[in-house]
């Protein structure tokens, strides 16, 4: 097989895996922003905390990598509910600037807190052997870790779509995003729907942060470093809680970032901004945004 084809398949494989990971991590932000108009910039702090949960359990309790993942999900979901009850709930009626100031403050607190507890250095985890090997199928070889990202990302993406598009609770979420006032008016307890959605979305961020440690890295600057990715997913996906838009944006971002770093490593990291600019010029309301 010519190298160019192998390269393209490699970029597709890694790019889609990265895109799925980004989608799982940012879908909660997209939905809660659409439903409550609440700009939780500290979403990345939840993802970081999920990562540290996994490293701590592996290092100090001897857990296996895969076994820590559900714990990261549940723990971050629980932490987010406490934060929502104590802090966020008071800010739903506040102006965007107040919300941004609060959540940026939480980002810095989480950065300082993580540096204090876990130290400023990047965390490395030793993945089990079966996740560090390369497999070859025909002429294409891939890492089993990349395959895990792709598999878990695909399963979660399908589960998220099933939950949102095929269940009554998902319909309640969409109704609350469409028209919060009328959703209340037909008896939907929007606060409860929001709390559950927020918890699941935050838990998914935590799970993504844990799952992606070896792809995304993990150190206290994580919430700032990946904030831009989450915001790009939300903005070019269309901010009105559009899940299809968020998936399309996350895949576009994953593919363009991977392709940029693969083909033009000198400037690769900037490709995502070019893509974002082009999309915003083409469709200012996002890929699936409403005018």
């Amino acid at each position: 097989m010519p190298p160019i084809v192998i390269g393209i398949v490699q970029v597709l494989f890694d790019g889609v895996a990265f895109g799925m990971l980004l989608f799982v991590m940012s879908v909660g932000l997209s939905i809660t922003l659409g439903m409550m108009r609440f700009a939780n910039l500290a979403h990345g702090s939840f993802a970081m905390l999920g990562g540290y949960t996994t490293t701590t359990l592996m290092r100090h309790a001897g857990w296996s990598f895969l076994a820590t993942l559900p714990v990261s999900f549940v723990l971050i979901a629980a932490v987010s509910v406490v934060l929502e009850r104590v802090l966020y709930r008071r800010m739903y009626q506040a102006k965007e600037l107040d919300q941004v100031l609060l959540t940026v403050g939480i980002i810095y607190m989480s950065i300082a807190g993580a540096a204090y507890v876990w130290g400023p250095e990047p965390q490395a985890i030793s993945l089990p052997d079966y996740l560090t090997v390369y497999r070859t199928v025909g002429w294409f070889s891939f890492s089993t870790y990349g395959a895990l990202l792709l598999a878990v990302g695909t399963v979660l993406t399908l589960a998220i779509f099933f939950g949102l598009e095929r269940t009554r609770f998902g319909a309640m979420i969409r109704a609350a995003v469409d028209d919060r006032r009328v959703a209340l008016g037909v008896g939907i307890d929007v606060n409860r729907v929001f709390t559950i959605t927020f918890a699941v979305g935050s838990g998914l961020a935590g799970l993504g942060g844990a799952l992606g440690i070896n792809a995304l890295g993990l150190d206290p600057s994580f919430p700032i470093e990946y904030l831009v990715f989450f915001l790009i997913v939300v903005s070019i996906g269309g901010t009105a809680g559009s899940v299809k838009g968020a998936l399309a944006a996350a895949l576009l971002l994953g593919l363009s970032d991977t392709a940029g770093k693969y083909y033009i490593p000198q400037t690769g990291a900037f490709i995502i901004y070019v893509v974002m600019l082009l999309v915003m010029l083409w469709r200012p309301n996002g890929l699936f945004g409403r005018a």
């Binding site: 109704a175 469409d178 209340l184």
Partner: protein, 256 residues
């Protein structure tokens, strides 16, 4: 004294610091129907929104079957029995027609099968999404959605506005059928004659205050008050619609 279905006393509400409705008081018995009339901008929709808890209340009380509602959030009021079909219909655009119904469902006699029986044309479009429906279908869906909450009292805010005469007729028949089945009704409507034909009692709101309160029949026979506070719009309505209003007891003869 028997407990009223809805009792409103000295209600005063608006938006921000502005008072839009003031000193509103009325009572409605079980299964009764009340028309709220008045020109545009006089506070009719604000009254409905205040009943649903979507305005700023400055004073007064709202009681549904004796339960005080005025401090409860909107979704609790819906759960306790207020079935609201908003003026702009506000169909959830990301939901299929059927999902628009199921998200509102609460246990009771009304379910998807029964509302489809009431609105057969909706059944054929159950997989369609909100933005693929005609104005008449959206209005039917808004009423059907309110019924899915199994309300004690339906609040219909200008359900006939902007609809073709034939749809107006169909909806009028449906609303009459609902009141005949014992669902309480508050009907805000610009089609004055139709609204009076569908209700037993009526109030007229002028600049946020009640200026007439009495039976719909007495108001029908008082063109002076109607002209003064409501205008003659009802008289200009389609002839077929006026026919329905004049013969509330025999809906069949209005078939086109």
């Amino acid at each position: 004294m028997t407990e009223a279905l809805l009792r409103v006393e000295a209600l005063r509400a608006g938006y921000g610091d502005a008072v839009v409705i003031d000193d509103i008081g009325f009572a409605l018995g079980e299964g009764e129907a009340l028309a709220i009339l008045g020109r545009n901008g006089m506070g009719k929709t604000t009254l409905i929104l205040t009943l649903m808890g979507q305005t700023r209340r400055f004073g007064g009380t709202i009681a549904l079957r004796g339960t005080r509602l005025e401090r409860l959030p909107t979704n609790r009021r819906a759960a306790l029995g207020l079935g609201w079909a908003p003026q702009e219909r506000n169909i959830f655009a990301s939901l299929s027609l059927e999902e628009n119904l199921t998200v509102a469902a609460r246990p009771g006699p009304w379910n998807v099968a029964r509302v489809f029986d009431l609105f057969p044309s909706l059944a054929e479009r159950r997989r369609n999404f909100g933005n693929q429906l005609s104005g008449g279908e959206q209005q039917m869906l808004a009423i059907a959605r309110a019924l899915m909450t199994n309300p004690a009292l339906l609040l219909l805010d200008e359900p006939l506005e902007g609809l073709a005469p034939i749809i107006v007729e169909e909806l009028t028949r449906t609303i009459r059928r609902l009141t005949a089945e014992g669902v309480g009704l508050i009907l805000v409507e610009q089609h004055t004659q139709l609204a009076l034909g569908l209700t037993r009692q009526a109030i007229i709101i002028e600049r946020g205050r009640i200026v007439f309160q009495g039976t719909s029949r007495s108001l029908e026979d008082d063109p002076a008050i109607l002209t003064r506070y409501v205008g003659l719009r009802g008289e200009r309505g389609p002839a077929a619609s006026r026919g329905i209003a004049r013969h509330p007891s025999s809906p069949r003869e209005t078939s086109p």
